[in-house]
Amino acid sequence: MATLCKNCSHALVFNPASQLLECSACGSMFRPEEVEAESKEYREDLKAEAAGEIYGDKEDKSLMDCYVYTCSECGGEIIVNGTEASTTCVYCGNPNVVFSRISRQKRPEFIMPFSVSKERAIELARNAVKKGVFVPREIKNFSVDCCRGIYLPYWIVKAKYADSVVIKGQVKSGKNSVTKYFGRSGTLDFDNLPIDASKALSDESSAKLEPYNLFNMKPFDEDYLAGFYSNVSDVTYSDVRSAALLRAQEFFNEEAINDVKNASAKEVISSCPSIKVDPDMVYAMLPAWFITFNYKGKHNTILVNGDSGKVVCGLPWKKVLFYCLLIGVGIAISVAAYFVFKATLPVFFSGRRSSSSSRSEGRIIAFLIAGIVALFSTGIRKVIKVIKSINLTQDKAMFNFMKKRQG
């Protein structure tokens, strides 16, 4: 159901710029908390029903696994999936909230209203994309295929984490460096870690959208959903615990590594993570814009944090330019390095042939080779990171999460 204008009974839509509910017909504006609660109560008995129950046999596999909801404005049938809580009518374009899915215990406690408007989100995405040197021109001037504001469900978790880690590191001992081990054992408490509560959206994508400033959250009101899409939680306690454990482990390892001083090349080699999550979690809805565009037959989805405006995506790159630049820069540096090495190497090798000087020569060569390997591996790791990010942007599951909605 949509919240209707008190003056003309037209459906109201939430405007992120003004933070008010606006009527496009008569121009009236209302604060979401002003809209009377009584007018919403009767809508809770309107439920989204399984398509199988309406159109025939529940076991009939020819029917799509979806739910049917009736638009309050035009009576049209709106198709929603099992977790959608708000959508737009495909026939009349009015916003609809599936009240039965946000009633009682399923009702979120808090909501962070969109503060970035649709136009601003597209502008932010365009500005971010335009800066890229390796971004193809077609992408820089991409035409938006679809742009949807979706409230993502989150559980804000309070937990206590315990771990004992062993860190391996290199410590200087005279002129040499030796491998040493460092132990750190302790606890980590966090009060408000948001964990994505939607199975359809990958945890990696939702984690990249963070941070959200949780102090911008407001007590939940269905009116904030007007004009946007939203999903309800479909994760289990076990899913939340696993996600919280992974995030806490990242934080703990980072702190433990930073706590080890006077060592280099530090890495955690063993750990024993354990977490206790408070089952009394806070259910909240956080905003995100999903912008899709088509490039060479593939769908790409750019995510924009609906509160901070952070843009998240991995973009296809100009491979010819990249490899030409790699070869060009490689040849230029190699030529310069050749003259430097040609002039300096004889100085090292033509000196006294004592055992100590041959040891230091060996060390210099080993240092150079190790440096070359490190440069190659760091560069390749960066390229792999970009490829992973592109795969996430072109992920069909994410595209379907956004696209398979009416309106």
Partner: protein, 129 residues
């Protein structure tokens, strides 16, 4: 010989450095928003109870065996159950003292308040592993 060796090292160094520069430039250009929130965003409080430096490998393993511990999974909820908001009664059971709630559930919005002695932590069965 020196010239050949200098050429080999120069090629390795040149293309290694080029790979690093181009990889970094590509990451900056095409991988947007590739960062997670850091620990300060979530009031993360880390306390190291035991620490040991400059150990040998065997001492490291001994440290791990000695100080590794883990919490028992809470039996207050069924792990396979979908997460839901607690009812007031469940909340009372979970948190004996209603004061010091982590989020003040009022009409002004979201306010984080750190518990002094949260009951659920007291009840967390923590022991030597």
């Amino acid at each position: 010989m020196i010239e050949f060796f200098a050429g080999l090292l120069a090629l390795g160094f040149g293309f290694g450095l080029a790979c690093w520069i181009c990889g970094k430039a590509l990451n900056k250009s095409n991988n947007l928003g590739d960062s997670h929130a850091n620990s300060s965003a979530y009031n993360v409080d880390t306390t190291f109870t035991h620490s040991c430096n400059n150990m040998s490998k065997s001492e490291g393993l001994a440290f791990f065996d000695l100080y590794a511990y883990k919490y028992n999974i809470s039996d207050a909820v069924d792990e396979k159950e979908e997460v839901r908001r607690m009812t007031d009664e469940e909340r009372k059971k979970n948190r004996k003292a209603p004061t010091g709630a982590f989020v003040s559930r009022n009409t002004d919005g979201y306010t984080a308040v750190r518990d002094e002695e949260p009951d659920w932590v007291k009840r967390a069965d923590r022991g030597q592993w």
